[in-house]
């Protein structure tokens, strides 16, 4: 099942290319430009070559922040992906309950990120926060401003609360794209519920899962506002992740040159890791865009099935 070559398809891509290039390439060029200069004043630029890059790479604190970041992103993926998949499977496929679930699911995503941090602040405070107060009353010592472990867990739980709906929504959409006939065939074949998940649902969610994993990885790797508002990076630097660290160093000193250099390095780290992740997932799943259409949020539906088939009351999924 290979795709035909058609160079005219570029025409369909041109609008996207223009929009994104306008937004991306020009600014990017500026960033690259600044990263190799020392901008002493708006009119005085001195070319310094790789000086900023070398300074960053040799920075020990960077390694600490990078390490914390990697652990954080790993935890995020570890929790949010299975949770999101489980949620998507648990949600009803239609009816008012589905609508209600979708709305509840959407709510945490819609709150501006600084407000998310603020809410969790006032939620987690041991003196006046619902969570903090309740935990301490129950005998658990909990103070996210004092204890690094508590801070970490709070930031993690906050992220899970905030972002699992994204994974769940993607997986849910992917599940709804599976035609009924697959479930019917599995019923006829006598498949167990787990077999249906393993052989039908999971393979057909490969596409959305890949998107979810990469998205969550990228976004968690760049996370800034929520932990910054919640813990300010503390206690100490225990919850100072990469973007906050770099922002501190660069913006704090309000120096455009190093800032640009940091941005580039940051970008390259994410690029590299995503590239690896992407290729690994593509090989494992044999899914992936711009390749022969294999399974992805997979349907093989006929042109006549313009509306979903109603098989009456046969399936409550």
């Amino acid at each position: 099942m290979s795709k035909p070559v058609n160079q005219k398809a570029w025409l369909l891509v041109v609008p996207v290319f223009i929009c994104v290039a306008f937004s991306a390439i020009l600014p990017l060029m500026t960033v690259v430009n600044y990263s190799v200069q020392d901008i002493i004043s708006p009119t005085q630029h001195v070319f310094v070559g790789t000086e900023w890059f070398r300074a960053i790479i040799n920075d020990d604190d960077l390694r600490g922040a990078l390490g914390r970041q990697i652990i954080f992103s790993a935890c995020v993926l570890l929790f949010e992906i299975p949770l999101g998949v489980g949620l998507a499977l648990a949600m009803p496929a239609s009816g008012w309950r589905a609508s209600a679930s979708l709305v509840v699911l959407a709510m945490p995503l819609l709150i501006p990120w600084n407000v998310v941090g603020t809410i969790w602040q006032i939620f987690g405070r041991p003196d006046i926060g619902l969570l903090g107060y309740a935990l301490n009353r129950a005998g658990i010592e909990y103070n996210y401003t004092a204890s690094p472990a508590a801070a970490w867990i709070t930031v993690l739980v906050m992220d899970i609360w905030h972002w699992t709906p994204l994974v769940a929504l993607l997986c849910y959409a992917g599940l709804r794209a599976i035609p009924d006939a697959f479930y019917q065939a599995a019923e006829i074949d006598g498949a167990s519920r787990f077999a249906v998940f393993r052989y039908i649902e999971l393979p057909k969610m490969r596409g959305v899962l890949m998107i979810a994993v990469l998205l969550r990885f990228m976004d968690s790797f760049m996370i800034y506002t929520e932990p910054f508002v919640l813990t300010g990076g503390g206690p100490g630097d225990s919850t100072t992740f990469l973007s906050q660290y770099l922002t501190q160093k660069a913006v704090g000193q309000f120096d455009l040159g190093p800032a640009a250099a940091f941005s580039l390095i940051y970008f390259l780290i994410i690029l590299l890791l995503c590239f690896i992740l992407y290729n690994w997932m593509e090989r494992v799943g044999k899914g992936g865009p711009a390749t022969a259409a294999t399974t992805l949020p997979g349907t093989e539906v006929s042109a006549e099935a313009l509306t979903p088939v109603d098989t009456g009351d046969a399936h409550a999924r």
């Binding site: 035909p4 709510m107 809410i119 619902l130 709804r176 949020p297 042109a303 109603d310």
Partner: protein, 269 residues
Amino acid sequence: MRDNRWMRVVVLTVYILFALIPLYWMLSISLRTNEETMSAFAIWPHQVTFDNYKVIFTDPSWYWGYLNSIIYVLMNTVMSVLVALPAAYAFSRYRFLGDKHMFFWLLTNRMTPPAVFLLPFFQLYSSVGLMDTYIAVALAHMLFNVPLAVWILEGFMSGVPREIDETAYIDGYTFPAFFVKIFLPLIKSGVGVTAFFCFMFSWVELLLARTLTTVNAKPIAAVMTRTVSAAGMDWGVLSAAGVLTIVPGALVIYFVRNYIAKGFAMGRV
């Protein structure tokens, strides 16, 4: 498939509680005065007050903030999805020079925090005279929304086998008719979820929106950063604003619910 119904109910209930409790707390704080909030812990507000909401509804910069956000976010959503649909179709159905690279390049636009683009965007949009306009923010947000839209749509489109396209052409459909009447309905859950995500990511994006606007198009999120004053954090107003920011997005997902979920299934015999 019926015997695990209790498990699904348990999972859903637990999750809904988990999701709603912090939201309840936010609502609760929004209904208290700051003094009450800061003084001692209480599950319910002692005295329910709507003052925080009054502040928002009576202060023009507050409600204009909402309106501004809604306008440019809707603009962005529509533009992003429209531009992404043909591109996703091209990536899904054809091979062409540089397609794999182009696709990955699109993703890379999401791999940098928008903060990186702050200064260059500022310079760019100032120079073309688009500062403080809705279109500026809508365009700027396309930076990260268009790649996402293309990515998600491509995935769903690739799940529809090409035999459908071919059968439609044999049956005499023109490409536009095929795309609108046959293809789009088959990927409607993908379209629904894409539209919602574009809305959501644009709605919460604060940095770029704040940088590119001064007065006329100032978004709600930017207005909310004014809640920190010499007297300390205005928890009440901030929470109220937080509650209110949920409303437009909740409406959006309610409207696209039938695209995402199965909706009413009609019999096809």
